[in-house]
């Protein structure tokens, strides 16, 4: 007969508590993602070495390497007859394609708190309208890893036609749930474990998570790909702000 652990034994074992939390939250049966970006320490920049170390870090917490992953972000600019009126049009109009939703496309105007989901054919419509043109395209690309019930995507941010790395991002997806309030607790547990692993390497920076106010975008507590698109746009805004300060 298997002995049943005392309540105090469970509470004193953080791994067991986390596992129990996962089992309970699996009942919700949906998805949650959190997108983080690498914040270099002052005076340092991102480079391939850091990306390699981060990838090794994922493997050190028993991350099983999976396939490649790639998301595309396109920044659109208005095609104007009178350039002096550019201030009247959004300057942060992004189009995003996500690998998990190949038939969908997402438009975001972050400063106006608008996110819209459409079929991927919306790109053909935008081309025909000729009112906005692609100003820059960036890729989030790297590898997927499976760590227990978590799926991690670690990759670099690179402009198209260039290998010049602009940033490092990590996407953490907890597969069995979607209610963000409940997921927050599980995620915190995961990041405690992650923090411990990454701190051993003395890397010149850390992963940072800026959680957008999803309600401002009209998004509910039930997690969707629109939430992910908003997080991607938030990361891009942050990376571009850092770049602007450097320049």
């Amino acid at each position: 007969m298997v002995s049943r652990p005392e309540t105090s034994e469970i509470e004193s074992d953080p791994v067991l508590v986390t596992c129990l939390n996962f089992q309970i939250l699996k009942l919700f049966g949906v998805i949650l993602q959190r997108v983080l970006h690498w914040q270099p320490n002052a005076g340092t920049t991102v480079n391939t070495q850091i990306l390699n170390e981060v990838s090794q870090c994922v493997e050190s917490i028993n991350g099983v390497k999976g396939g490649r992953w790639k998301a595309t972000l396109t920044l659109y600019k208005p095609a104007l007859r009178e350039q002096s009126l550019v201030g009247e049009f959004p300057r942060d109009f992004w189009g995003i394609s996500l690998p998990e939703q190949p038939n969908k496309y997402y438009f975001i105007i972050r400063t106006q708190r608008i996110v819209m989901e459409a079929d991927s054919s919306i790109q053909a419509i935008m081309e025909k309208l000729q009112s906005y043109k692609s100003r820059a395209a960036l890729y989030f690309e790297g590898f997927q890893y499976q760590v227990g019930d978590f799926q991690l995507r670690v990759g670099k941010v690179v402009p198209n036609h260039s290998e010049n790395m602009r940033g490092i991002i990590m996407e953490v997806e907890y597969l069995p749930l979607s209610s963000m309030e409940k997921a927050r607790l599980v995620m915190e547990d995961f990041f405690d474990i992650w923090q411990e692993a990454v701190s051993k390497r003395s890397l010149p920076g850390h992963f940072m998570h800026i959680e957008p106010n999803f309600a401002e975008f009209g998004l509910s507590d039930h997690y969707s790909s629109q939430h992910t698109a908003v997080q991607y746009a938030t990361v891009m805004a942050q990376l571009m702000a850092v770049q602007a300060v450097r320049n």
Binding site: P78, A79, I109, A118, D119, I125, K128, L129, Q130, S131
Partner: protein, 217 residues
């Protein structure tokens, strides 16, 4: 791409048309209640003016939105000789804040309409859709509940079919053949070419109504 023809019919003959379509298509009609918003680019946006239509399907329990771009018609001697208009058309489903996005991008509402009627979707040589609807205008912005007919007593009939540059001639043939069956009740032609109501409509409708569509027209 899509192939399209349009026509008009008096409202009093719509029931007969429905009976005829029911017999020809062998499928049940679907109710149609579509709020259509036509947006145009603002004066400074785009090197050429552009136009996009947002369609809100009010028949669904939760209204669904579609973005539709209708491009130029196919031109040339070949296009002139066929009775069906072949034009580029791209559609995309969109979330409910699509109107807000296009306003933010600098598009302005040009006009809006409410189409109320029914539609048949079926396969007959091509995937054909027939929409029969009254076209209504709103007296107040977005007030679909207070819409009034643009042309009282007249309804619009639109026959469309998706096509590609490879198969459009087969689609045109299938559509033309189908339209012949409707000829006693209405005449269908390329959009913009008004042909009015047909003189045989009343007799054809009376015949259809008397035997429930059993008569061979």
């Amino acid at each position: 791409m899509e192939c399209v023809v349009q026509g008009i019919i008096e409202t009093q003959h719509v029931e007969a048309l429905e009976i005829l379509l029911q017999g020809l298509c062998g499928v049940h009609k679907e109710r149609l209640r579509m709020h259509e918003l036509c947006l145009k680019s603002g004066p400074n946006l785009g090197h050429v003016p552009s136009e996009v239509r947002l369609l809100c399907d009010l028949e669904q329990p939760e209204p669904t939105w579609t973005v539709k771009h209708v491009g130029g018609a196919m031109r040339g001697a070949g296009a002139d000789q066929i009775s069906v208009l072949v034009r580029t058309m791209v559609e995309s489903k969109a979330s409910k804040n699509v109107l807000r996005l296009f306003y933010a991008l600098g598009y302005k509402l040009d006009h809006e309409l409410l189409r109320v009627g029914f539609a048949f979707h079926f396969k007959r040589g091509a995937r054909i859709t027939v929409r029969v609807s009254s076209v209504n205008k709103m007296l107040k912005l977005h007030a679909t509940d207070e819409a009034v007919p643009v042309t009282p007593g007249i309804q619009m009939v639109e026959v469309t079919s998706p096509a590609t540059s490879e198969n459009y001639s087969e689609v045109v043939a299938a559509m033309s053949s189908f339209c012949e069956y409707l000829a006693p009740l209405l005449h269908l032609s390329k959009p913009g070419v008004s042909t009015g109501v047909v003189p045989t409509a009343a007799a054809a409708a009376a015949s259809l109504m008397s035997d429930g569509g059993g008569t061979t027209l």
